[in-house]
Symmetry: C2
Subunit: 371 residues, 2 copies
Amino acid sequence: MKPDGVLQPGDTIGVLGGGQLGRMMALAAARLGLKTHIFAQASDEPACQVAAAHTLGDFAEDAALARFADAVDVVTYEFENVPASAAAFLAARRPVRPGPFALEKTQDRVIEKDFLNSIGVPTVPYAAVDDAGALIRHIGQIGRPAILKTRRFGYDGKGQIMLREGSDVGAAFRALGQTPCILEGVAQFEREISVVAARGLDGSFAAYDVCENLHENHILSETRAPAEIAPQTAAAAMDITHRILDALDYVGVIAVEMFELAETDAAGRRVERVLVNEVAPRVHNSGHWTLDGAITSQFEQHVRAIAGWPLGSPRRHGARVVMNNLIGEAADGWRRLAAEPGACLHLYGKGEARSGRKMGHVTRIFPKGEA
Amino acid sequence: MKPDGVLQPGDTIGVLGGGQLGRMMALAAARLGLKTHIFAQASDEPACQVAAAHTLGDFAEDAALARFADAVDVVTYEFENVPASAAAFLAARRPVRPGPFALEKTQDRVIEKDFLNSIGVPTVPYAAVDDAGALIRHIGQIGRPAILKTRRFGYDGKGQIMLREGSDVGAAFRALGQTPCILEGVAQFEREISVVAARGLDGSFAAYDVCENLHENHILSETRAPAEIAPQTAAAAMDITHRILDALDYVGVIAVEMFELAETDAAGRRVERVLVNEVAPRVHNSGHWTLDGAITSQFEQHVRAIAGWPLGSPRRHGARVVMNNLIGEAADGWRRLAAEPGACLHLYGKGEARSGRKMGHVTRIFPKGEA
């Protein structure tokens, strides 16, 4: 790496985490002539199968982290739960991109929403809940239904409970382990949308089309690009994303999950607005469609950003693109999907198709001129 | 692998050769959840950087070949000069796709042209040349200019000499090492075109657009897809390719390089026809545009074919696609290319940018509606 923080072809990207996101990052890095070194817990993890090297260890092992840092030119990660101590340890040795500040602001749901509101980005109403008394107090203000979530480590619906009329709130708090929580109001949304975007080392910005996300059992099942929303709503979503990236002094790809709300104003006109639900400081499942459906995939875009390279074009192929996750035994349908004309199949090299496990995805591109 | 010869996700493809073609094959296999094991001569070769495993050795080492065969489910290759003995050794242990018959018919320029003519595919006039006397005899029939080439191992213009009026033919034969040669007539062609196509284990056929190839110093410099040729010429090129694949009982991706000739018939009408110049039983540089410019890349298509999977769609993105090789120090322009909006940059992970060495390529997709 050069003193200006820019990687050269042949340099090595260190990735914390060996899952499918790290795998697709490694494949994208290889296209650009960059090597990848994975920090993983087992050598058969999906990313290790396609990387030049890996270090086995966990985030509490300074010796392993030091070996990893010595072997790479820049550090990135495929998930936001990198402990602050490990991020600081690595940042003292190599550039960590996105930086520890972005991790700090997005690992904890209360800190994240405080941060968003502080830069004028709207969210649902929320309150920190440290004990059962606080929960009872706040649910009176926020109303029901509301969602109680752990502040940290939740994903795919894990670590959250819906509180409806008559729900036993004390039991819900106990079920989440009496750990620090957040109580969130429930948005009556029209659509769940997301913006996957990147910010370069030079502050440049590039965003993919706003897309619409459909979930099943709290797990993303389908992404449609572009979302069928009003142009001014899309512009508002882009603007919010851009502000978040700048405020975080971000380098890399980010995903901002939002709710689109439709309301009727005093004059009877339909008004759309967006709230931010969650920020993921990394490549994101709702950006997988870009692998086949855009000039530059989100994985290449992330690699370009953290390498200090110019961002690539996020332009979409075709009129619209639809991505479906293959979850659990849905991946057993690989042969049928492989035979479907025009379907782009991706499998992640995972051994066992456990229920709820993301095994792969399939992308379909609908050409211009075909609805 | 199942008894029907079809690979399952998680199975391993063995690739003979560790260059950029093997590298891009490994990246494509990873997308589909398949592992790759490279047979290479050094662990820093481009393909080894992205493969789950590699075996170091050369084709004369049976022990290395046996270890490699034991570790894989199917064997393929990235170049046609795999010795017949090694191919036979491996084929006795694992399926080799494309099969040894395809190698036998394409490694030697005389055998290749005999084969093509035997199935009614036209070539330039040619003759086998085993000694200087034969050369003098045949050049009288074929005329000048003519090209003297070694029968085997030539590529990128290596191992060939143009014989013009006044050339010393004896000196040319000595310069090529007095090795078995072929003397070829020179086609007065309009364009050099190629068809990259695949045949599945079930005999299915899929071809990319006929493309036009431009060379500099005998090395491919640019591929344009589609070639600007008459529809009936494109259909003839496709038909020839299909016949070659069927005659070879081929499994995998093939490239057929052709000359397009334009002549004027007795009635004064322009008539286009094609001759086959060379057949490459593998993925090919003139198919690199498919990585970004088609639904299924040639590398994924090859993996699908040799895995016994259904072939993917070869449909092109955009109105036209142009691929330029980055040869030698042209790759030093990577940063400018990375900054060019819409340019898709590929670098092969090679250390030293020697003159004439293929270091990477760049693809540009021109959308429909833009010329």
